[in-house]
Symmetry: C2
Subunit: 232 residues, 2 copies
Amino acid sequence: MTEKSKTLVDQILIQIQNSIITGEIPAGSKINEQSIAKQYGISRGPTREALQTLERQRLVVRAPHIGARVAQLTVKELNELYQLRSVLEGMACELASNRISQTEMQSLQALLERQEQALVDGDHDFQQQSEIDFHYQIIQASDNRHLQETLTGSLYHLIRMYRFQTSGDERPTSAIAEHRRIIDAIADGDGELANLLMRRHIERGRKNTEIKLIERQKQQAAAESLLTINNL
Amino acid sequence: MTEKSKTLVDQILIQIQNSIITGEIPAGSKINEQSIAKQYGISRGPTREALQTLERQRLVVRAPHIGARVAQLTVKELNELYQLRSVLEGMACELASNRISQTEMQSLQALLERQEQALVDGDHDFQQQSEIDFHYQIIQASDNRHLQETLTGSLYHLIRMYRFQTSGDERPTSAIAEHRRIIDAIADGDGELANLLMRRHIERGRKNTEIKLIERQKQQAAAESLLTINNL
DNA sequence: CGTGAAAATATTGTCGACAATTAAAACCAA
DNA sequence: TTGGTTTTAATTGTCGACAATATTTTCACG
């Protein structure tokens, strides 16, 4: 069936990615090359290459002679990431407004309807996934290769990670309404409006994630201080 | 003196970078791991890692089982690259306008004066270098880590490559005047204006580079057709 | 006990060899 | 010659071992 993935790196990369994004390997924790290699039954060569790829995706930070750690953003850095993302996706919307094809437009519309259905059904996983798909499709429609690579190659993995690890019950109703308006603006060819609406949409997502990250950090700090007290 | 660069990759990386940026290894040409390794007296391991780093910097394109090639942009892709850059550096200007410190501002002013002096002296190399420095300093002043990494880690190497390989006698007088206005806007804290001026500044650079790239491509096409005729 | 130096351990960096795959050459048929 | 096949060579992918560096542990001394 899934016959490809000819190289070992490709095969394990997605697995490590998922382990990081889900938090199975916690943010900030050290990654040992040998144990990763043993875990997947491969040698350290491909493991190192996978780690370098993860570094490009900004999921991992590496230092010479010291090793790799799972990335961990401060609240400030998370906000910076979202700010950058909003500018880039706003640009994507503006470009898409001028160039988007009929089939791409129909695909976006169909996706939106499925999202609305998933909202009715309460299918939370699908909502999460289709939120991502929505943004991906617009990015693809921008028809700017470097913009696409920057967003999907370097920024989106981190976004997904923090979305996943801070996700409770989101703000699905309002988010879908925002999607609707963005699509309408693109359909109208109003790039300036689409840009603005996308930036606002992402800014709301940023606030949501920021709040939850701060909550989580407080809990962790509390748990840690409790732990250190017990160890004295 | 220069005591660091503890790892082999760091040592050879800059050399390969320069070979690519100067065109010593031509755009689009294949890169052989073994010959690179032999050339620098190291094994293929570090060589592969260096190539992967160059891939992150977008100076190299790699394909599984096929190998690495020096990146080669079409005119369309070059324009997309510049368009992305202008949006990001516009953003950097806007952020810098709000946050820049006095010392950073003075450093920018000093750089500008040196640029003007280099213009008088006709020091072309220094002009080229300080043009880059100017943009770097503003990017640094933006105080957004992800923006910085995107620009200096992924985009600027390609920009430098195409700047270098298409550079004749540039448009130095007007460029410096534009720098002056951008700095003034930042000093005034007028982020919106600084953003606009930077985008225009880069757009002019784009046009300049585009024209020269098209010229070069025509020359190459002519030379190539001549060559094939002779081989018949 | 605490602190700092020294020894021991663990981890990353580098190498050379072999396997898997692709690119080039040789070959044959039309 | 040309087009397609098979064979050969070249190149990339993977592995295990050793070297260089960082981290942990041990131990002596205050």
